[in-house]
């Protein structure tokens, strides 16, 4: 039974995710260098295996800041954004989807129209207009992602609920006079829980990419906070001087996304194989 | 002899094990003759048909033994390319069960009926259109000239089966394998398609193997019938002989299961039990477990008993 539980677990992916989590939680204590610390003498110091040294294994950027330390520090933004964005978009989407799927009728029609409208504005355009209207920063990034992704949850959850509603035990519960709130909490929510977990895991990678893109454009995380996308925006100007400043933060993004996608795929196959087509 | 199959063995390599879908089938079809291959689903009759064209599931299916000869030419040793060029659609053609899914929904019927003609160099270029119209006329499709650009969904089920038949007979094949050609159709359309097959045979002198689970359909079109059970032929003979004196207990059970007009209203006898697994089949008679007249000897493979007049059956009861 226990062995069965752990069959095919993507350990490598979990290891990467754990590393990102530890960097994010561990904070300054873990870092080899103060990530904001300037050392102009070390500017453009290449990675250790080229001509640098092992004090800063991934090299330094244009201001001599240690890239490894900044990548580790930047993980925190990714984790925080992913956490809040998923919490709110999943929560709002799940509630909207459950209500629309369960009650049907005009509630459902309104929701479907809202989803259609939401999908007619490109996410990044929404981000631009929000960034223009509000202060750019972490809360705006989260807001944009929530506005973009709630519909994704809502549509899938709605479908699940509509299928569930047709089942006998829900019909019995209604006939037996079980209150609506109780049906939602005791009968519907537990049934969509697996789906929610799978969707949330699959969203992690996309959230990280989105945050990086926004920060890269200067619409997301602002200096002096550290984010991978922002590091790439900085490094872009020195692309001819220091290729490592471009590649290293990107690799951090890629590995994190890759790991969470692989883990999400595995989880989906375990918990909710019918979501395959997503 | 047009087609002569000897001791054919077709294996499917499945994850669960080696499935002997066709296990020692021998049969013959003469020019202009129609052979009915009758059996339940899973008896290996369709696999036998597919084996003739070596259209087995990619990767898992394999002809493991025996020989297939068409006009004396051995087919089992031909390469895939030779089969596609000289045999499939050219000398042996196939009509499949469901006319609703047998036609490609996104190509016009002119293109689809013309495809075998093009591929086998029967007609090309400007002559192609005329040839296609001609074939469609032969299968009695109404006003074929005006409908070449139409798509399958614009035709009825019966018309679609005619179009499928047109694809099959375009290159005037020597042998036609019709796999349950009427099963998916309404009863009135079934009669039309049976008549069509008969006309095609009269026109071209092709041999036909009619694969069906329906003894009635087989009787209406075939001169000879071979009854398959669990990958083997258990009885074969002229239609009349099989109907009048079915000799294998399985054939008897099959006939008893058909409700007949004029017969006394009795119990419809269903055959108790399930056919054996073909992954690890019993060593003796494969029908023994379900047979009402089972004997101790049935644990050994039964002999083929010649009952005269081309009628034979594999059963210990007949040997004694």
């Amino acid at each position: 039974m226990r062995a069965e539980m752990f069959r095919g677990v993507p350990w490598l992916a979990l290891l990467v995710l754990a590393a990102v989590g530890i960097c994010a939680a561990g904070g300054e204590a873990l870092l080899p260098f103060e990530p904001g610390e300037l050392d102009l003498g070390a500017a453009f110091k290449p990675p250790a295996w080229i001509s640098g040294d092992w004090a800063s294994p991934l090299g330094a950027d244009n201001l001599g800041r240690d890239i490894l330390s900044r990548i580790m520090a930047g993980s925190r933004v990714s984790v925080i954004v992913a956490f809040y964005a998923i919490l709110f978009s999943g929560g709002i989407g799940a509630v909207a989807g459950m209500v629309a799927g369960y009650f049907g009728g005009w509630v459902d029609t309104v929701l479907m129209r809202l989803i259609e409208i939401q999908q007619s504005v490109p996410a990044i355009a929404l981000a631009l207009i929000l960034a223009a209207a509000l202060e750019p920063g972490l809360p705006t990034v989260v807001l944009v992602i929530v506005l973009t992704y709630w519909a994704w949850y809502a549509r899938i959850i709605r479908g699940e609920i509509m299928a569930l509603k047709g089942r006998d035990y829900i019909a019995f519960a209604r006939v037996a006079g079980v209150g609506t709130a109780r049906i939602f909490l005791r009968h519907l929510l537990p049934n969509i829980f697996n789906t929610l977990v799978v969707l949330a895991t699959l969203q992690v990678g996309q959230v990280i990419l989105f945050e990086a893109s926004l920060s890269f454009l200067g619409l997301g995380i602002q200096q002096p906070d550290i984010s991978w996308g922002l590091m790439l925006a900085d490094a872009r100007q020195y692309i001819t001087n220091a290729w490592w400043a471009i590649t290293m933060p990107g690799i951090a993004i890629m590995l994190t996304c890759l790991a969470s996608n692989i883990f999400g795929d595995w989880l989906r196959d375990r918990l909710d194989p019918h979501l395959r087509q997503l | 002899m047009l087609l002569s199959v000897r001791n054919l063995q077709t294996h499917l390599h499945l994850r669960r094990g080696l499935l002997r879908a066709v296990d020692g089938v021998s049969l013959e079809v003469a020019e202009g003759e129609t052979l009915g291959l009758v059996g339940e689903s899973g008896s290996g009759k369709t696999m036998t048909g597919l084996s003739l064209l070596r259209l087995l599931p990619k990767g898992s299916g394999r002809i493991a033994g025996g020989s297939i000869q068409l006009d004396g030419q051995e087919l089992t040793t031909l390469s895939e390319a030779q089969l596609a060029r000289d045999i499939r659609g050219r000398r042996i053609a196939m009509i499949m069960q469901d006319p609703m899914t047998s036609l490609n929904p996104v190509f016009s019927i002119g293109d689809q009926v013309g495809s075998p003609l093009r591929n086998h160099d029967i007609a090309r270029g400007t002559a192609l259109r005329g040839a296609v119209v001609d074939v469609l006329r032969r299968v009695r499709l109404p006003s074929p000239g005006e409908r070449l650009g139409d798509y399958p969904h614009q035709f009825s089920g019966g018309q679609r089966q005619r179009i499928v038949a047109a694809m099959a007979i375009g290159c005037t094949p020597r042998l036609l394998v019709a796999d349950e050609p009427t099963t998916a159709l309404d009863v009135t359309i079934q009669v039309q398609i049976i008549n069509l097959l008969r006309t095609i045979q009269d026109d071209t002198g092709a041999g036909i193997i009619l694969i069906t689970h329906d003894l009635g359909v087989a009787a209406s079109l075939c001169r000879r019938i071979a009854v398959m059970y669990a990958g083997q032929i258990v009885e074969t003979g002229p239609v009349r002989a099989i109907y009048r004196s079915p000799s294998h207990p399985y054939t008897q059970a099959l006939l008893a299961a058909i409700p007949r007009l004029g017969a006394k209203r009795g119990r419809l006898t269903a055959i108790a039990g399930q056919p054996p697994s073909l992954i690890d089949p019993p060593t003796g008679c494969r029908f023994a477990a379900r047979c009402p007249s089972r004997m101790a000897k049935c644990a050994e493979a039964p002999p083929v008993v010649d009952l005269g007049d081309g009628h034979s059956a594999s059963c210990w009861k007949l040997a004694s």
């Binding site: 259609e116 409208i117 939401q118 007619s120 504005v121 490109p122 355009a125 929404l126 631009l128 207009i129 929000l130 960034a131 223009a132 209207a133 509000l134 990678g205 990086a212 893109s213 890269f216 454009l217 200067g218 619409l219 790439l232 872009r236 692309i239 001819t240 290729w243 471009i246 590649t247 990107g250 993004i253 890629m254 996304c257 890759l258 996608n261 | 064209l53 259209l55 596609a84 499939r88 659609g89 053609a93 196939m94 499949m96 069960q97 469901d98 899914t101 047998s102 490609n104 929904p105 996104v106 190509f107 016009s108 495809s115 075998p116 591929n119 086998h120 798509y151 969904h153 614009q154 694809m167």
Partner: protein, 306 residues
């Protein structure tokens, strides 16, 4: 077909109206829109005039009606940075963006179709396996990073292609690849699974039984069926290209709508942002509509559906 199209058109209009409401509401989010719509150093008279034209003394719904009235005649206000009507600025930049989006889409389809087909035909073969690894990687790489890596490799290290600019054919290559990179994985998956379905269908079996050469079966008879699901998604992907263009245009200094809007955000040139976003949304909806229309070209069953 006509009725279907009519319904889609109505839905599209509805979405565009919805999008305009979203844009309107957001643009009022931060309090006094005048502050955002005019440069910081705008004279008091300009502020007063703006307030009157926008009817800011009226209730919100009335303000929206005024906004939409202006939007309908193409009046989003003047760009203060470029000193020209915002809409005209966007229209001027639009062709470059559409060219880029089309090229990106062409690149992704040109990769996804052959790889998807070959993965399906040779399931578990090397194309399938390599394709799957690339798909995993592709989904984990942000478009802008792909762009930067391409510049690093092909423009800086190898010096084969220009790193930025717009005009010559060679300048299209890197932006189109960075834009088309991300959707390749999903498109390959769509083609692959559609091909697997089709190759297992009765009509392909019949085709094979009648001796159709394998090359024709795969690339003609099966592919046209398998293309339908991809085609139904092309609108979505084209829309994704428009979204991606904001980032890719910025990297490659591409003179399109995306870069213009991004720059406008930093310049607080709000009319341009509004017009750009509104226009992208319309394009978004229109591309989906066009694809709905084009189904009929590939799928005769839909052509006749009422």
């Amino acid at each position: 077909m006509l009725r279907l199209f009519g319904r889609r058109l109505l839905q599209g209009l509805f979405s565009i109206i919805g999008a305009s409401i979203i844009i309107f509401v957001i643009s009022r989010l931060s309090g006094d829109p005048i502050v955002m719509m005019l440069p910081n150093d705008a004279p008091l008279s300009a502020i007063e005039e703006m307030r009157r034209t926008l009817g800011l003394d009226r209730p919100l719904w009335a303000q929206y009606l005024i906004f939409i009235q202006h939007a309908l005649v193409g009046d989003f206000g003047n760009s203060y940075r470029w000193k020209m009507p915002a809409l005209q600025l966007i229209m001027d930049r639009l062709p470059a963006t559409i060219e880029l989006a089309v090229c990106g889409l062409l690149f992704s389809v040109a990769v996804a179709v052959p790889v998807g087909v070959m993965s399906a035909v040779n399931r578990g073969g090397w194309v399938d396996r390599v394709g799957r690894v690339f798909a995993m990687l592709g989904q984990a790489m942000p478009a802008f990073w792909v762009g930067l890596l391409l510049i690093l490799l092909f423009a800086i290290q190898l010096n084969w292609l220009p790193a930025f600019g717009y005009g010559s054919a060679s300048q299209f290559v890197l932006p189109a690849i960075s834009l088309g990179w991300y959707p390749v994985a999903a498109q390959t998956r769509i083609v692959r699974s559609a091909m697997l379905d089709v190759l297992d269908s009765d009509h392909i079996r019949l085709s094979r039984a009648l001796g159709t050469p394998e090359r024709l079966i795969v690339w003609k008879y099966a592919l046209r069926n398998a293309a339908i699901p991809l085609l139904t998604m092309l609108g979505v992907y084209f829309a994704a290209m428009l979204g991606g263009a904001f980032v890719v245009e910025t990297i490659f200094a591409w003179p399109g709508v995306g870069r213009t809007v991004v720059e406008a955000v930093f310049a607080r040139d709000f009319p341009v942002v509004q017009a750009g976003v509104m226009f992208t949304s319309i394009l978004f909806v229109a591309s989906n509509l066009l694809v709905d229309l084009s189904y009929g070209l590939v799928d005769p069953r839909i052509r006749d559906a009422r």
